[in-house]
């Protein structure tokens, strides 16, 4: 039931074709092992050196479609999946006693690159998978990840990554899979969201049971919006206008980046012919050596060189760049809409936050904020708790009185943070000041600030109690510049 494969060179993945029981002549065809071996050998990094294959694994997501769809078909489908665990060179397997070990270390998890399940569906067989991004060739940048507990042979391993699978093409297409991967991440990351299996997602798209045929015909954007809403999130749909101007394109991409940088995975619609495509955007990569324009406000969003996708047509963490490249036929400019599945307490949209910028720079008495021709601007949603955590973990950046004030300042759970950096400081991730804006404010509220500070002055606003604003002259240590915040995305180890 368990097979161990050593990988020394790409051709060793071909051993997958022979893992089935000798009495089961159909095994390789049922799980499409030849195609799976090709995918693994072309996309996994050489640091993946060992595979543990579970030949019979009950996968909850495949079973959800088996019970409601495949069991009704004339062709006989099996009930069990195959699961492939990916390990580094330091993990060993005792085949006689079925024990995984990592000599000299305590836990095989530290050299565990996650798992891939294979459905017995003959085509498009790669099912629920969580692969660590540093196992994938070419993956680089910042990505959303969380840890998934994996139980195998009495060991508890941790798979770190973002959920991914290929589309079934019948009971679920790309749009279902993009919703599934985002909602599975939420269920694992945030306690308030429950887990939805693949077939649950299919059913959530419509007010009625869509049966077996309708899902294969695709989804409208509003169906995906419904799925996210039914799952307990508050989806915000942002679309590119038809025949957009250059400025409208920039505005669209800046909003997309603002929500992604906030740590919200995005359901992204990509224009294609004859039918569009849907993927999940789960991270990004900035070009740190990008030439920053000398005049006008520069935006962090404009320095993005790639989105990182969970795309059912490719292995996970594939780039979406401004230009196509071998293995990717879409460009960032092909994105025509996205859905940000927000929590219930974010009312202030990204585009309104950006509208505040000229007035903050021109009218608020903060002399140390950069002028517009020397400004790189970034804004994102985070929590008051994360702001407190950042101050607690890097206190040397701040005047202790500012920490004291911010810790006691009543704030809502979600805030927009606007970071102001000088152009020369941006490549070093240093900023000159930060505004904390109430994400629960309405667009007509002119006093949405909780706090704003540069290196010399802080303004503090008592929005909850309605007291008068206060000001604080700061004695900020010159040797410790403010560092830009990294909200919820983690760097991919290359």
């Amino acid at each position: 039931m368990y097979v161990w494969i050593n990988i020394e060179k790409p051709e060793d993945y071909d051993a997958l074709l022979n893992v089935g029981p000798s009495s089961d002549l159909n095994f390789a065809a049922v799980y499409e092992l030849k195609e799976v071996a090709r995918k693994l050998k072309t996309t996994l990094r050489p640091r993946v050196r060992k595979l543990l294959i579970e030949l019979s694994y009950v996968d909850k997501d495949y079973r959800s479609t088996f019970y409601h769809f495949y069991a009704k078909k004339g062709r006989q489908y099996r009930g069990n999946s195959v699961r492939i665990h990916l390990f580094g060179a330091t993990v060993s397997f005792d085949a006689d006693h079925l024990i995984l070990s990592r000599p000299g270390h305590d836990n095989p998890s530290d050299d565990y690159f996650g798992f891939i399940t294979l459905r017995p569906t003959y085509k498009f067989t790669v099912g629920r998978s969580v692969v660590r991004p540093d196992a994938i060739e070419g993956a680089a940048g910042l990505a959303l990840m969380s840890s998934y507990r994996v139980h195998v042979l009495g060991h508890e391993l941790l798979a770190v990554g973002f959920p991914w699978m290929e589309q079934h093409s019948d009971i679920a297409v790309c749009a279902h899979v993009a919703c599934w991967s985002i909602l599975r991440h939420y269920a694992n990351q945030v306690r308030k969201y429950r887990e939805f299996l693949t077939h649950d997602i299919t059913r959530l798209a419509q007010a009625f049971d869509p049966g077996g045929l309708l899902p294969s015909l695709g989804l409208y954007v509003e169906h995906a919006e419904r799925i996210f809403s039914e799952a307990g999130t508050y989806p915000l749909v942002i679309s590119m206008p038809k025949d957009p101007t250059k400025q409208e394109r920039k505005d669209f991409h800046r909003q997309l980046f603002a929500y992604l940088d906030s740590g919200f995975p995005l359901y992204v619609v990509i224009k294609d012919d004859p039918a569009d495509h849907a993927v999940a955007a789960i991270g990004y990569r900035s070009n740190n050596s990008a030439v920053i324009p000398q005049t006008g406000i520069a935006y962090a969003a404009d320095m993005i060189e790639a989105l990182i996708l969970s795309d059912d047509n490719h292995m996970p963490y594939r780039d979406l760049r401004w230009k196509t490249f071998p293995g990717q036929s879409y460009r960032l400019d092909d994105v025509i809409a996205f859905i940000a599945p927000l929590p219930d307490k974010v009312f202030l949209p990204a585009e309104h936050v950006e509208n505040l910028v000229p007035y903050i720079l021109n009218d608020l008495p903060l002399d140390e904020l950069p002028d517009q021709d020397d400004l790189v601007l970034r804004y994102f949603v985070t929590t008051a708790a994360l702001i407190h955590k950042q101050m607690r973990e890097a206190p040397s950046q701040f005047d202790p009185e500012l920490i004291n004030e911010i810790m006691q300042l009543p704030m809502a759970q979600y805030v927009w943070v606007m970071e102001f950096a000088r152009k020369k400081d941006w490549p070093n991730s240093h900023i000159s000041g930060r505004a904390i804006i109430d994400a629960t404010a309405g667009v007509y509220e002119e006093d949405a600030l909780w706090a704003i500070y540069d290196r010399k002055t802080a303004l503090l606003f008592d929005r909850r109690g309605g007291g008068d604003p206060k000001t604080l002259s700061l004695n900020t240590p010159a040797s410790a510049p403010y560092a830009k915040m990294i909200p919820n995305l983690d760097p991919i180890r290359v």
């Binding site: 989804l219 619609v269 309104h352 503090l460 206060k470 000001t471």
Partner: protein, 60 residues
């Protein structure tokens, strides 16, 4: 006498805004308020232009 309840410390250095700061803030509020009305009308128009995208089907 020892207090029965510990009250959270408030910064001793934070002060009310001076007149110049108050004036600047009032100016800021007034401009942001005008901007919000203007933008909301624009946003409704944008939303109408974008509505067509929601009818696009995705399945590839």
């Amino acid at each position: 006498m020892k207090p029965k309840v510990n009250v959270l410390r408030s910064s001793s250095r934070a002060k009310p805004l001076d007149e110049g700061q108050k004036k600047a803030l009032a100016n800021y509020y007034s401009k942001v308020s005008r901007e919000a009305v203007k933008r909301t009308v624009e946003d409704i128009e944008k939303r109408q232009r974008r509505a067509a995208t929601a009818r696009r089907i995705v399945l590839k």
